[in-house]
Amino acid sequence: MTLDVEAVRKDFPILSREVHGVPLVYLDSANTSQKPQVVLDTLTDFYAMHNANVARAVHTLGSEATNAFEDARDKVAAFINAANRDEVVFTKNSSEALNLIAYSISNATTFPGADQFRIGPGDEIVVTEMEHHSNIVPWQLLAQRTGATFRWLPIDDDGRLVDSSIDEIITERTKIVAFVHQSNALGTINPVSRIVARAKAVGALTVLDASQSAPHLPLDVQALDVDFVAFTGHKMYGPTGVGVLWGRYDLLAAMPPFLGGGEMIETVDMTGTTFAAPPHRFEAGTPMIAEAVGLGAAIDYLSALGMENVAAREHELVTYALEQLATIDGLTIIGPDVPVDRGATVAFTLAGIHPHDIAQLLDEQGIAVRAGHHCARPVCVRYGISATTRASFGIYTTTEEIDALVRGVTKVKEMFS
């Protein structure tokens, strides 16, 4: 089965609007994806017909809301092939999921029975040079709080991890390896099994940022064999305000809480508190109920398309985009310039023209791209540039839109020549 892109496009109302008097060409899905009608309808229906708080109201609406929220957890668990639905923790986004792990680990310093998570001076945390800031800063802060050392795997000129550094940087001192599945700034898909094998050999925990892979590739957390996975709903055609932390149950069950509050407790006394089992231990307070239900609808939508089909379609798109962009003189792809182990996100520079000028002028032609450092500033520093222009694709992207991008960039070049 192949993806029927025209049918998909009809499901996204925003794609029929115009910008500056011309049809919208939305090439910024890595920033946030657009939402299909079914997700919008699910949000409206939840608030219109089933709204109540979860896990506490005994009335009918409370039961309906709780069931809808927990159904969404089942959908997420099935989507990522989790062994156990209780391994799925709802967070507000990927950043919160990653911070949750980092803060739980520092809370382990004084938490009874959490010895396996304790880190301190002499221990090392390893990330990569291509991380989004959300997978850099929480670990830098953790290193600061605990006295551990923060290190990183460098990237080469082609936008890939330096393979030899995996064995050099990940050592017996490494306690955590946190890395991105697919880079938001380069499009690179990292060798997960290679990194995980090394991390396991030295006894380090592995944390995978799947924000840019969950919307585009089949995700099987058991096959990936990592310890934690973070991703966000709004990049996978769901609402903003909901993300997911998946963790191995035995690890979540031993991990100290991050935020304290309602619904994360077993019992509370003024002299002390015991905590609920995962996932609720990590979901303090009223959660993002409608958003989680909306994410469930987005997952149903993606599952109906089939993630294998999505991946195959987007591979065609990026193959086409790399070929077409290569025809523009003065354009340099920042990241892998061949469609091998890379996703459908293409960043580039154009000689002598600032990315913000390119993005602004493309916008005047109805084409939405992102320009800047894409919250992955070390990547720009690595290549000695201040910013890139980035086009990122999704299930609704067409080759005609890529043609429009190429025409648009060519026009920008003419203006500045």
């Binding site: 600032h354 913000h356 002028l361 201040s386 910013a387």
Partner: protein, 164 residues
Amino acid sequence: MTLPMESMYQQIILDHYKHPQHHGLPEDFDAEVHHVNPTCGDEVTLRVRIADGQIAELGWEGEGCSISQASTSVMSDLVAGKPIDDAMQLQEKFLGLMQSRGNSELTEADEDELEDAVAFEGVSKYPARVKCALLGWMAMKSAVAEAGWSGTDVKQTEKSGSQS
């Protein structure tokens, strides 16, 4: 490519970007400033020499997006050789234009005063780019202040007096 009327990129802007005015740093100067716009990574280094209450000389170097570089060029043309009070008034006027969020109501007199700087009117609709257009103007204001000008107060009057 012909530019639509509503484009942020008027021909004047592109002309200044391609042929920046007062580009280069004068050797004889009273103050040098370096301003950065973190959004685009735009940078400008600007030097001024002041004499008799006027911007006697002004030159700059920079890199970044076309809006920041062209705006600095336009500003230089407008204020070099002008009385500092006039330059500050223009700066205020341009700042007001940039803060108008696309709703500026320029009079003909304003347009005459702002000359080429009117071309940046469209930028005011894009909050992310306003800082680009203001970079050179803010640098000029700082440089003039660092060179010792502090409005029409006594200190400046004395300084002007001692120079004449």
